[in-house]
């Protein structure tokens, strides 16, 4: 099941039976509104704090995936998830409501694929029949914690990105119909010495490149094996940086097959600067939009590479650089 040094190949090809995706008002106004199961017009979700709203996003995504998969709560054996908030309280609090045994993860914006990789490994080894995995973020809760409260109105440079308000969850099983998880490559921590928290994409790009190249080597395939290689939230700047790195390394990835979730979710004209970010970015775009396109037959094989910046407000204040990571998971459908 191990290919190369850090890639898992799943011989049982765990099935993504169903997914749930939830978004906020900014996402409802974006390019992919039709791909969300549930959209909220109010950033507060009728809760008394942004953190409580954040928790509800994750609960709803999980409940939606169960509903679409035709499962009751008691049938879900494990939930693997995480978010960006200190001590990942939105996810932990949601898992109290959801009731299933819980494996808390922290991979910043790479959490979606960290969870899908581990979840697929658990199902593949027959250590669960049904499990949920997902990730979430809430723009105002994250901005308040990492930068300034949004009410402060601080200006941002064009390299900054917009944290997605939303959640995406996938229900995995060893049976049923749907896209299948075929392999995963776990990322190393890559730190190129960047220190600007308003340029996460640039900092994360080398981590994405490292993981993609390791994946191709470990599986011994060409980039052309995939119809689409999609990163999590590099944004415009990070996307360009990563393309430059591939060129420099002689990795034959074509611009047409290489996209970024952070550049898909919003419309031209929405004030998102370099693009979207946040754990919910890849979680909602992949579990909504991209799997929908797979089911329509547009892609047979995709490689999702969720990217995460492993800084904290404190590590930034202490003058530390921004270590980054990327986890890659391949999903296949049809044939």
């Amino acid at each position: 099941m191990l290919a190369g040094h850090r890639t898992w190949v799943f011989d049982q090809k765990p099935v993504i039976m169903a997914t749930g995706t939830v978004g906020g008002p900014f996402e409802a106004d974006g390019m992919l509104a039709d791909d969300f199961d549930l959209l909220h017009s109010d950033l507060w979700l009728e809760q008394e704090s942004y953190e409580k709203a954040h928790k509800v996003l994750f609960e709803e995504a999980c409940l939606k995936a169960m509903e679409k998969g035709g499962l009751r709560k008691e049938q879900v054996q494990f939930i693997l998830g995480g978010d960006l908030i200190n001590q990942i309280t939105p996810t932990s609090f949601a898992c109290h409501t959801l009731g299933a045994p819980y494996i808390g993860l922290f991979g910043a914006c790479s959490t979606s694929m960290e969870g899908l990789a581990l979840g697929a490994l658990i199902v593949n080894s027959k250590s669960a029949k049904y499990l949920l995995t997902g990730a979430s973020s809430h723009n105002a809760a994250v901005e308040k914690q990492f930068r300034y409260p949004t009410e402060y109105g601080g200006q941002k440079p064009p390299t900054a990105q917009w944290t997605v308000t939303g959640a995406g969850a996938a229900l995995l099983s060893d049976e049923g119909e749907g896209p299948r998880v075929t392999s995963a490559t776990i990322g190393r921590v890559v730190d190129m010495g960047l220190t600007d928290p308003f340029n996460m994409g640039g900092a994360m790009a080398p981590a994405a490149v490292d993981t993609i190249e390791a994946h191709l080597t470990d599986r011994n395939v060409d980039p052309s094996y995939y119809d689409l290689i999609v990163t999590g939230d590099l944004g415009k700047i990070g996307h360009e940086v990563s393309l430059d790195l591939f060129k420099k390394h002689g990795t034959a990835i074509q611009e047409e097959q290489y996209k970024d979730c952070g550049m898909m979710i919003y419309r031209e004209g929405q004030p998102v600067l370099s693009g979207a970010s946040g754990p919910a970015c890849s979680a909602t775009v992949v579990y909504g939009h991209l799997l929908n396109r797979m089911k329509k037959g547009e892609f047979k094989r995709i490689l999702v590479v969720a990217t995460g910046a492993l800084l904290s407000p404190l590590s930034f204040q202490q003058g530390e650089t921004i270590p980054c990571i990327a986890h890659a998971v391949s999903i296949e459908f049809g044939e």
Copy 2:
């Protein structure tokens, strides 16, 4: 490999080839000083911040485990770990230095067994030959974040616990000699409505009881199957609460076989109030003291139940209750 609803039984019985345990000055003065591989007389570890010292603790524990296991850095395929600091930066930064692919976890003080459970599953399914898993905490870094800077001199009630400064790591493999990981039970989030962050043990006790009882049911064994059932950091108060709950539920756990790492690590007279806590508490006591006693033949089968309080300073300030979790892993040696 799945027993019952949420217990994994590892047929390959992954081996704990070697461990590394590191402690600070308070631990050096404690009951288990002889069981640490490395003790620091200075809380700063010659670093310029407590968070950097925290990072070094985890690095050293991992390096010590590799050294004792006779492995080079490049042979370690994955590191699974986490800590209590926002965005688990000490662990992530350490994994940059260590270089191996990294799976970040958040389970608060339950992280040690969350990592050992997942690590054993990965090795058991032949998805890694060698991996490291561990957890760490630093008293002053944690106090500063969760309560007050220690320099403030705030008084605490007798239910409060003392966060361990230290780190414990285990090197797992499918070969070699040593104690073996035989099963794991993943915890559910349990919240009994407690809100006092100075009484974590009391809040965590019901989660420990829930996981232990689920483990015994899933594996269909009596408590007497284990020579020792040891919780992570319930402390005196939580330990008593959990014994009361076992009695109430008719679970036949004897006081002699039921201990708590948080009540073992320090001496009588050290000002630790209800006992020790922190992710490093169970990690250092189990990977140091308890495995040493197993190797001397004192125990053949132990069940380690690491307990975690999933709150954040913000969730406490917002008036939320304290959700808790416990993950259990059985370790066997000899026969």
